[in-house]
Symmetry: C2
Subunit: 206 residues, 2 copies
């Protein structure tokens, strides 16, 4: 298994497979097929088999996949067989919603630290966290092991904040600000922008 | 231009092109090249040219693209040259964050109606909206022209609510609940799930 050689588009589908398998497991199921998994997710069975075959041999012709086994394998491949601490940057209404969301832990993540640069927000409480001073982020992250940040700051600040985070040792940023980030190679950025997805759907509406 | 023949993956990139062009326009720029647009978004120039050529001839070899012209063309193609009203389902903390977000209007969308099924939330105010009773959604939507919904309800309710919305005339759903929806052909669904994107990034973190 040579990580670098697997197309990112395939890596990006694995979390969806994992999510569907975990849901089947919650439903009390123990085995599944590439056909069933594909039906749930809107992919062909061949696509599922081809994607998974990039990472190893996980099922048997005729008997299909063991759901708990495949969940374990995907968690290992995606490195969510551990708990990742997250830095949340921005304590606005979206930051509040994220801090109060209780679906992270059972999927390998937990908010560990919240920072903001607004003096009126620093020191206030969100969920179980006291909002810390964003200007101290490097010191706060030092020795914390936190490598992932969720960015919920205004678009105008996002690039500067992302650069600070990179300097402070952050390796991956989930960016909610509607602006592309330009960061050094090796820093991974994913975007959440509902407008992009809304504009994608209107193409199809008559 | 035959809409049905253009791969969805290409359609999905157009909103990103539009966003980058609008940003350039805000910066006072008037022309750009496929190279510059690609550099901003992390695509090759050839990819940009190939994608755009699916929809027409928008630039000239050597002189590049007129930014305002290409913005107008993309807005027409994506049908965001008009204002789309949105139904927001769910008045929890995420619903609040969405209702208070002020970035929709300049990109072709506005929240027009908020509903929830919680008696404690119905009748309360969020931003400029009074939360309406979700059980009345069909009557509320009748004659409204609203075709798009944003769904911020618990995962356990999402499928049932989505079916109700479909029956009430909704054609596109942006689903924040971490569960795939199974809906009739012709209903477009997009998903926003930060966990999927976080799990994608951890693959690359050492």
């Amino acid at each position: 298994m040579i990580n670098g050689s697997i197309p990112d588009i395939i890596v990006g589908r694995l979390p969806r497979y994992l999510q569907a398998l975990q849901r089947m497991h919650q439903e009390g199921r123990h085995t599944t097929s590439s056909k069933e998994l594909g039906d749930r997710l809107g992919y062909t069975a061949a696509q599922i088999r081809k994607d998974l075959s990039q990472f190893g041999e996980f099922g048997k012709q005729g008997t299909g996949y063991s759901i708990p086994f495949l969940i374990g394998q995907l968690q290992t491949i995606l490195k969510v067989d551990r708990m990742w601490d997250i830095l949340l940057v921005g304590a606005g209404s979206l930051g509040h919603a994220i801090a109060n969301y209780n679906g992270f832990a059972n999927r390998g993540f937990r908010i560990a630290l919240i920072v903001d640069n607004d003096p009126n927000k620093i020191g206030t409480k969100i969920a179980n966290f006291v909002v810390q001073d964003a200007s101290q982020v490097k010191a706060l992250l030092f020795g914390s092991g936190i490598k992932i940040a969720m960015l919920t700051v205004p678009a105008s600040n996002a690039q500067a904040v992302a650069e600070e985070l990179t300097n402070a040792g952050i390796k991956a940023i989930l960016n909610y600000a509607p602006v592309p980030l330009s960061l050094p190679k090796g820093i991974h950025v994913e975007y959440i922008d509902p407008l992009i997805q809304l504009q994608h759907m209107t193409y199809y509406i008559d």
